[in-house]
Symmetry: C2
């Protein structure tokens, strides 16, 4: 017995040792989403959706009711079964289907040629509507079964009976109908908006005739050619946006009568539940005065006064549509950062207020013409508003209430309470970063999350009680690999008071007595963050690869980045890059306290705003960083777009000193280390004029940056180009930092 135990112990020891010595190393193909083996090494995932209140798991082969407690797991239909009903093989996988009607056994399938509604109980086609060739922006309404879409720059509607109406005729490269506007800023992502009943269609018109086309070149043509890429640069001519409403019953189109300058923004279009009103968050070009206005959908007439107004000496940035209460159409939830944090506010259309400008905690002023009630007090950000539990009259959201890095799921009562009386209910695990999909009445949600200790979990959660049933706990897909240690922590920002969070990755096979080359990865701009409490603290695959090659990787979210409130973000207003760099240098100071960081071998890498930061750090702190790789960088904000650029920098004529101080063209002369600029040659976001102007400035100043470009690629590289790019970035550090 004793002998056997000893043997077993020896064998276990031997196995452990063997496992350690035979652990595998990653290739870039394993670690990057564009890599050929990436998906083999991801935690197991579960595709799911809702059929009304019924949770459904979708696989390639079938749709299965998820069985928990009383209900049984049950196959609703199979891919093969759908194709049998159709009489031909039109459905390739069940993963893409949806259930448009909570109370009917109808599944919606979309092929390249039509939209199909299939009754999977009767096993028959309930309805089918063809798709016009070349149609884009497909927007289908389940109530009227009408389909809105664009052919090129014009809008069309196809009714349930298949008849088609062309709504606009003068669409062109200059006049664009039915597409997204304002370069997808302000939460705008589309240009066609059905009323809930599918009887009215609101759509955008974008007049960009005054905007010059940036000369993008397609080198794949027999002789290289330019193509149209309308790009409004800060301070220059910009878009004119307007909104129309088409009435499917009358066949008439009316235009929203907005007498303000057309260069104002019209964002976050929101239909009233009855489809009689359309609400628009309107913003002046200066982006410092937002007004929420209602319009009569039948006439286009604008309400005589706004419902809500917000001003801010820096900027106001409406990002969310109204969400009407399912049980009371006279009230809606609005999201705003008026009180510094992105919060939910209940607005009451019936309750008129005497409009007065008041100071708000976000540093701006508000003027409410109707009652506006804060629903979610506290020093945290709402990341996602999930929806309502209609029975409990609660609002469900994901926010970082627990900890700035953890995005957990919570419920709060939708009622008029004093902030101190508001109570939150934690629905999910209290740690990690969560995503949620809510059922029809809001009683249950499917929660998918990961954390530094959880690769992936999927749970079915009762939103009333928080009671949870585990649907999937994914195994660690990397157990056979050499994985570096990833930790997180915080340091103080350059202001001395603000906590900043970092991710730190140690080299594989870490030896604390050695000194390692260290690379700072940086983004640093608004609307993004690099550190959160998801798997591996939100690591990027390339960092694992670098750790494998013997680098320390450090990532710090500086002031200006996401989910830390408005003041944290606005610290950078009118002088982008400056505070951000001060914070990053605080990160470097921290790194220098670590005995295993070689302060003589510091590198920096980032893309887009991070490319701006990288170039800026290389030129502003030439004795700190030895090697940098800057991707798709902003070089001078005057070459960036109106919507994003003017929000943070104002117009060049209003802020000449800020533009000059933040321009890297004048800093090109300071470059000492090795800096490689990499860009997509056809980048429509940071147009090549940025990088090429910097290169020219360096040449004129006698400094020597390196350069690479990806012909045909845009602002980012995907697929095999992504792998090629990271080989390239890695090689640069291997060449010059090791």
């Amino acid at each position: 017995m004793k002998k056997a135990c000893l043997l077993a112990a020896f064998m276990m020891f031997a196995l452990t040792t063997m496992a350690q010595t035979t652990k595998k190393s990653f290739t870039l193909n394993d670690l990057l989403s564009g890599g050929s083996t990436f998906w083999n090494l991801q935690p197991k995932y579960m595709f799911s959706t809702w059929w009304g209140d019924v949770p459904v798991e979708l696989t390639v082969d079938e749709a299965r009711r998820i069985g928990v407690e009383k209900s049984k797991s049950e196959v609703l239909f199979t891919t093969e079964g759908l194709n049998e009903i159709l009489g031909e093989k039109l459905v390739r996988a069940c993963t893409g289907v949806s259930f448009p009607y909570p109370d009917q056994p109808i599944v919606k399938v979309q092929t390249s040629k039509e939209i199909l509604l299939i009754d999977f109980e009767k096993k028959s086609v309930a309805w089918r509507g063809p798709l016009q060739e070349g149609a884009s922006e497909l927007t289908w309404n389940p109530e009227s079964r009408a389909l809105a879409y664009c052919i090129g720059s014009n809008v069309f509607v196809q009714k349930a009976d298949g008849s088609r109406i062309q709504l606009t005729f003068d669409g062109s490269d200059d006049i664009v109908y039915g597409h997204s506007v304002s370069r997808e800023e302000f939460g705008i992502s589309k240009g066609l908006f059905w009323s809930p009943d599918g009887k009215r269609l609101a759509f955008y018109k974008k007049d960009q005739s005054r905007i010059p086309s940036y000369p993008q070149v397609d080198i794949t043509k027999r002789i290289a050619e330019t193509y149209i890429d309308k790009y409004p640069m800060a301070g220059e001519e910009t878009e004119d946006v307007s909104v129309a409403v088409f009435d499917i019953q009358t066949g008439k189109t009316v235009w929203l009568q907005n007498p303000k300058p057309k260069t104002d923004y019209m964002t976050n279009l929101s239909w009233s539940p009855d489809g009689q009103k359309l609400y628009v968050f309107e913003l002046n070009r200066d982006q410092n005065h937002m007004q929420l206005f209602g319009y009569d959908a039948a006439t286009g007439k604008k309400d005589s006064e706004p419902l809500v107004e917000e001003r801010h000496p820096k900027y106001v940035e409406p990002m969310h549509t109204l969400r009407f209460l399912p049980w009371d159409a006279t009230k809606a939830v609005m999201q705003s950062r008026r009180d510094n944090w992105n919060h939910l506010y209940l607005i009451d259309f019936k309750k008129r207020m005497y409009p007065e400008w008041r100071n708000a905690d976000g540093g701006g002023t508000t003027c409410d013409h109707i009652a506006v009630q804060l629903l979610t007090p506290g020093n945290f950000e709402i990341r996602d508003f999930i929806g309502f539990n209609q029975k409990e009259k609660t609002a469900l959201f994901i926010g970082n209430m627990t900890h700035p890095l953890h995005h957990t799921i919570h419920a709060v009562k939708v009622r008029n309470e004093k902030p101190k009386d508001v109570k939150y209910m934690l629905l999910s695990a209290g740690e990690g970063v969560h995503g949620a999909s809510l059922n029809s009445t809001g009683t249950q949600l499917i929660d998918t999350y990961s954390s530094p200790t959880v690769a992936r979990e999927v749970n079915l959660i009762q939103t009333k009680t928080g009671k949870s049933v585990n649907l999937l706990t994914a195994a660690d897909p990397w157990q056979d690999y050499n994985v570096p240690e990833i930790t997180s922590g915080s340091i103080k920002a350059a202001d001395g008071v603000t906590d900043l969070y970092y991710r730190l990755i140690k080299p594989v096979g870490f030896d604390p007595s050695k000194k390692y080359p260290t690379v700072v990865y940086v983004y640093g701009g608004p609307h993004a963050h690099n550190v959160q409490a998801s798997r591996g603290y939100y690591f990027r695959g390339w960092e694992i690869y670098m750790a494998q090659l013997g680098y320390v990787i450090f990532v710090l979210d500086n002031r200006g980045s996401q989910y830390r409130g408005l003041k944290f973000e606005q610290a950078t207003f009118r002088h982008l890059g400056e505070e951000e760099m001060k914070d990053q240098i605080k990160g470097v100071e921290f790194l220098k306290t670590l005995p295993y960081v070689d302060a003589n071998r510091l590198g920096v890498h980032g893309w887009s705003f991070g490319g701006f930061m990288t170039t800026n750090l290389m030129c502003s702190y030439p004795d700190v960083f030895k090697v940098g790789v800057a991707g798709g960088p902003v070089i001078d904000w005057k070459y960036y777009e109106v919507m994003y650029g003017e929000r943070y920098m104002d117009r060049p004529e209003e802020n000449p000193d800020g533009y000059a101080a933040c321009s890297l063209l004048t800093k090109a002369k300071n470059l000492k280390g090795r800096l490689q600029i990499i860009l997509g040659y056809n980048d429509p976001t940071c147009v090549p004029q940025h990088s090429f102007s910097f290169i020219r400035a360096c040449i004129d100043a006698g400094t020597q940056p390196d350069l690479f470009l990806y012909p045909g690629d845009g602002h980012n590289m995907f697929g095999t180009d992504q792998v090629h790019l990271h080989e390239r970035i890695t090689r640069y550090f291997e060449d010059y930092l090791k």
Copy 2:
């Protein structure tokens, strides 16, 4: 006395030693023509010209009759004196003046605003003609004192009395009058041609409306913009060229009536001495059939038959105008490579021949409709036809008769002789590379030359006797510098029989026991050569810099390059790069026999055709070359221009296999070493589509070239950009080859 001698000897020893130890090193600014100190380190130069038969030295301050033998050195006038005559400071230096009339004391001065004729004996202004603002292509005729010029794309003539006539009106980006055509191929360099008496003006019309504009981008605009750059790619739409003659007396313009396809070439326009006929070398688009035609200048009527015809299964390339004998206007000298070597032929317009096609030594056929007599038999090339000694009736030329690398000055009788009876008279030193400027009657010339042992010499030579007076012997400007050893020699080409010449530069401080990294510099294309017997064997400054850093530099003129005859050049026809590379690999084999060459550290560098060769060598011989820098490379000949490209490669549809075999896009996958592609971002010669397509091909194939571009620069870099570029090239070899 003895003691003093010893002391002197000691002091001399000490000085020599000190000189050795204190010799200076060059900077790139010293060695490159764009460098700030380049001109301080050049051999002394002498500006000279002719006033009829009188040699004149020009300096900033004065024009001085060069005194030799009977004549005395004498100041003709000073800059200050000219300005005194003018009453204002219009002349900044005498180096730019000329003497339009052999027998009058008149000097011509051109300012930005006018052309002035000053009588420097009478000290008065003899004539002045204003220059219209914005005028280009200024072409002034001393006989009629009429000035032809262009404003934009239209042609104007200003008569001696200042009155102006606009000759064309529809000039535009598409229709261009009075400018050079055919992309400066075929020896074409201008578009306005006065008849000798200045009474008729021939000018080109170029219709390029069918040619697309290559999308060149100017990034210096507020928002980047494209500009017009009509670029005809091989096999695609090309220019239509025609020629008009304007008669200053009648004010009428007639068009040369050429019924052949407009895409044919009309080259080397030559006026008859009496201005009644205009001769044109005409070439079909296939470039394999040349016809010399005469046109009646008054009517534009074409002669019914050609004077001379040449065909070649590869190509014919007329490069030179006719030069009429000063003593007999019925005869002219024509240059042709019909007999393999570029030679002078006497053509006799009076002596009609029965036209028959005959085989010629160059591999083609000729059909002479008038008598054509070879004047310069022998296996050598005429580099420059200098002119005639009118008294001796000799033709004066520079050719490599002595040795392929030496370009010496010779005279030959202009008379009908059998080749074996032709005698040459050597006028200059029998070695080195010479340039010559001839006086009015051809009795004397000023010879400027250098050789591996002569930094620069200027001699006044009697063209009848060869008698020479030295005007300048420049000291070695590099005597205080560490200068590497430069040698030359020959190896056999890959064909086993042809001699190829190289230049070899050893590292400064050469130690034969060491092994050195070695860089092959290459051009390799037609119409250029890298090795000749001028100072330092035609070294490039950068090579000296590299030798200083410890590199061996090797330069070999492969088959296909210049001044070695037609067959030597045409070995590459329809498969550019292949034979050239075989020869360069012969050079590598030679290098490997040198004990001090490190065959594991071979690099290659070249520009333009040399960039093509460099990229090709890196991809075709990936195990031979470790590092390459390719500048402004051709990547695929289908992206190169019609005129040059189709001459050597035919059209893509005629030679698909050749184009495919010579394309580097398919070779991109073979890249193993470090290759940096560098281009002018606005290169109008090798448009960026070449380099960017190669980069794209490498990305697709998973290989990793490097890239750099110079925004705003064209095919070559000048000034400080040239210095920056060579820092960059050097750094690349230092990074990866050392």
